[in-house]
């Protein structure tokens, strides 16, 4: 397997409670990996260790290694803003920045000084809005407040904004859980369209979504990875009894 992310002996604690126990996984390049499991099993915690977001919560501690392209992102001389530029995040609830639609997409390119001149910015904003499937709906009101969009549109805007900083990896923390079914479907479609260009890691608690999206599956339970592997194998022929129980709806 061509692993893009490797997690080695990772433990995470909230104060004294251990949230992740000795996690060892590999996440394949340019595929969709779905992390699933019952609530409170540590899915989101694991996801947050991949872009160094866990440390934003006070009282968290972590040990072990998270390698992206073989480089440990927790090493001392690592620039955390670079990590987060390379590893984008689509949050549970869409949170547009307090700016216009255009500025939301341009924001990341702007802080990282990725483009020069108005022309390049304009072209890039259009490109990423198209990638997120939002361009047709917003091209006439690019300078309106982003908060005027519907929740589903806001989430696609957040996707465009995240893609605009040219990440290699997209993390999704239950990215459709706040959306209506049609908007959810739309986001899922985008993620499937994009999977050949990006390594994607999605946390979900709905099994059906996992089955629709996953190429590779990680099943977690009580802070541990119970089983991981190609989606087909895990769904059709789980090795662990706990995985089978989850797939049959026992948790």
């Amino acid at each position: 397997m061509d692993a893009h992310i490797q997690v080695k002996h990772l433990d995470a604690f909230y104060d004294h409670q251990q949230a992740l126990k000795d996690i060892n996984i590999e996440i394949p390049k340019k595929q969709i990996t779905v992390i699933m499991g019952p609530s409170g099993c540590g899915k989101t915690t694991l996801l947050k260790t991949l872009n160094r977001f866990l440390e934003l919560t006070e009282g968290t501690r972590i040990s072990g290694e998270v390698l992206v392209d073989g480089q440990d992102i927790y090493e001392r001389d690592i620039d955390v803003t670079e990590v987060r530029k390379r590893v984008g995040l689509l949050a549970q609830r869409p949170s547009p920045l307090p700016m216009s639609i255009y500025e939301n997409v341009a924001y990341g390119m702007n802080i990282h000084r990725m483009k020069k001149g108005k022309h390049e910015y304009k072209a890039a904003v259009q490109h990423y809005l198209e990638l997120a499937g939002l361009w047709d709906e917003v091209h006439k009101r690019l300078h309106d407040p982003a908060t005027g969009l519907s929740l589903g549109q806001q989430q696609r805007l957040c996707l465009a904004r995240g893609l605009a900083v040219e990440p290699e990896i997209i993390l999704g923390d239950e990215p459709t859980s706040a959306l209506d079914p049609i908007s959810s479907q739309n986001i899922e479609k985008r993620l499937l369209d994009l999977k050949e260009q990006y390594t994607t890691v999605i946390v979900t608690h709905t099994l059906r979504q996992a089955k629709r999206l996953a190429d590779y599956v990680i099943f977690m339970y009580l802070g541990e990875v119970v089983e991981s592997g190609p989606a087909q194998e895990v769904f059709e022929n789980p090795k662990e009894a706990r995985t089978r129980a989850y797939l049959e709806g026992q948790f």
Binding site: N51, F53, L56, T81, E82, V83, R84, K85, G88, L89, A91, R93, S95, P96, L97, P98, M99, S100, Y107, G108, I111, H112, P145, A146, T147, C158, R161, G162, V165
Partner: protein, 286 residues
């Protein structure tokens, strides 16, 4: 389902009467103050009052106006607010972004609250002592500095309260794109909080322009319009004070007219800043 009086209905009625009563007292006092200022001040509010400086015999009821105090007050409160803003915005952002709810944050907030409560005459005396030590005379600059000190705690704390209400999601969204904390503060927090920041500035300006005691020693009083930072400057609250202190009814009336002018300035600035707030707040996330 027919209405019958029960204990909880009585409770609600009493609470409503109490609220209504408080409302009447507050609205009534405000109306009374405005009525006094208007009825006594309006007759004396002539074009001369706002367009001329005091001529000889002004304080005896002869011609002249209080342009000196209007300009002086605008200079001092405007300058003081600007200087205070230069320090309180970074301080408020520092409090939120780096100190947060830590022990240091607690002590800084507590000190600001204490400073807020100190009577303005103490600021005046403090400023005066320092000016004496530096060999400075009462001047526009002295007034501006003391007003900025007076306004700093109120402005910082008002901004701090606003910034603390910042939705965490927004910060995280910006951090997830690889922003530094500074970029989050400057490009996102300030933007989101602009309406609140504008009201904090207004609140501080209101305190500055309405204060008499702090500028009494530090800016002095003069019948001339200040021509440099080093020349003394008049102010509206002191104009009210001095004119009320004379035994002449015409001059006392002019004190009310001066108070009216001060009220109008504050009103215009409030309305203006509200308008600005609405414009800049259009992008804020609710």
């Amino acid at each position: 389902m027919k209405f019958r009086w029960q204990r909880r209905h009585v409770g609600e009625l009493i609470a409503r009467i109490l609220m209504y009563f408080s409302f009447v007292i507050v609205a009534g006092s405000l109306a009374l103050i405005l009525w006094t200022v208007l009825s006594k001040g309006l007759p004396a509010l002539t074009w001369d009052m706002v367009s001329q400086t005091p001529k000889g015999g002004f304080y005896l009821g002869k011609e002249g106006g209080i342009l000196n105090a209007i300009i002086g007050s605008l200079y001092m409160a405007g300058g003081g607010t600007l200087v205070a803003l230069l320090f309180s915005l970074p301080l408020a952002l520092y409090l939120e972004t780096y100190l947060g709810e830590s022990r240091w944050g607690y002590w800084v907030r507590l000190s600001l609250d204490v400073l807020w409560g100190i009577p303005s005459i103490v600021y005046g005396a403090f400023g005066f002592t320092i000016m004496l030590a530096l060999g400075m005379r009462a001047s526009l600059l002295g007034g501006i500095i003391v007003l900025s000190l007076l306004e700093l705690p109120i402005m910082t704390r008002a901004m701090d309260e606003v910034i603390r209400r910042m939705p965490r999601d927004l910060e995280q969204a910006a951090l997830a794109l690889g922003s530094t904390k500074l970029e989050v503060a400057i490009r996102v927090v300030i933007r989101q909080m602009m309406p609140g920041i504008v009201s904090a500035i207004l609140l501080a300006f209101g305190r500055g322009i309405g204060d008499a005691a702090s500028v009494l020693f530090t800016a002095g009083y003069t019948d001339r319009i200040p021509t440099s930072l080093m020349s003394p400057a008049a102010s509206l609250p002191l104009a009210v004070f001095f004119q009320l202190g004379t035994p002449f009814p015409e001059v006392q009336q002019r004190a009310y007219a001066s108070a009216l002018i001060l009220t109008i300035i504050v009103l215009v600035i409030s309305l203006g800043s509200r308008w600005i707030s609405a414009q800049v707040g259009k992008y804020s996330v609710k």
